[in-house]
């Protein structure tokens, strides 16, 4: 088995066990959601993002819609990690 195939298998197994469902562009996708504290410019806030298997997210672009935990978001940045996963930076709508 190639390293790439092994990596994809590990990613898939991890996301199957350690993820929630988000709706990305109307498609349900397994994601790990993160909303850590941030205070840009001295404002209390957060930096919401999610990570998912790259191939499970289709039609991604800045402005794509995400629904997670009862909140609607828009995608502000798309950050592939080069190892089969992609982090989406989010902004509340």
């Amino acid at each position: 088995m190639s390293f790439a195939a092994l990596q994809a298998r590990v990613n898939s197994a991890a996301m199957e066990k350690l993820s929630d469902i988000a709706t990305i562009n109307t498609v349900a996708v397994n994601v790990k959601f993160d909303e850590s504290y941030a205070d840009p410019l001295g404002f209390s806030g957060s930096s919401p993002s999610l990570i998912a298997i790259s191939t499970e997210m289709t039609g991604l672009a800045q402005g794509s819609t995400v629904f997670y935990g009862g909140v609607n978001y828009t995608v502000t940045a798309i950050k592939p990690d080069g190892a089969g996963m992609t982090r989406l930076m989010l902004q509340e709508v």
Partner: protein, 147 residues
């Protein structure tokens, strides 16, 4: 003895900037804590620096002082952030153009420029920092009395 003129000026600025249409009571002097959603849109008032120049030779000296201050117009919005900050800064500039009152005396407040910064957060946040100067005169041994 009265408070230092810096405090008197800061208090007068806060009074002048409290109750504006957009920011209401959310005007804060020397606020170090992060702004929360309940404090926005809001204003942060900072006294930054001061230059003093003696106009007499002997002590105690009559000094012409120029205080540099900043008013941060702060907002968080999904859309129209620039427009909101422009509106807030308009209200601040109009309010301070009338000057401030220290005791029975008026001080002029001069607009000197601005810097704009914004950043992504859970919603976009922005600060329009307005810089002003306040010239006044005081004795070197009585920084609490305006002359």
């Amino acid at each position: 003895m009265a408070n230092h003129l810096h405090k008197q000026i800061r208090d007068a600025l806060k009074t002048a900037l409290t109750g504006l249409t957009t920011t209401g009571a959310r005007a804060y002097a020397n606020r170090l804590q992060p702004m929360t959603d309940s404090t926005l849109p809001g204003l942060r008032i900072f006294l930054d620096t001061e230059e003093a120049q003696g106009v007499t030779i002997h002590q105690p000296q009559v000094q012409e002082r120029t205080l540099q201050l900043a008013v941060d117009c702060c907002a968080k919005a999904v859309s129209g952030l620039d427009d909101a900050l422009d509106q807030i800064s308009k209200e601040v500039e109009v309010a301070l153009a009338a000057g401030i009152t220290i005791g029975s005396k008026s001080l002029q407040v001069f607009y000197e420029g601005m810097e704009f910064t914004d950043e992504q957060s859970d919603k976009p946040v922005g600060v329009k920092r307005l810089r002003f100067s306040v010239p006044y005169t005081a004795m070197s041994n009585a920084p609490d009395v305006l002359i």
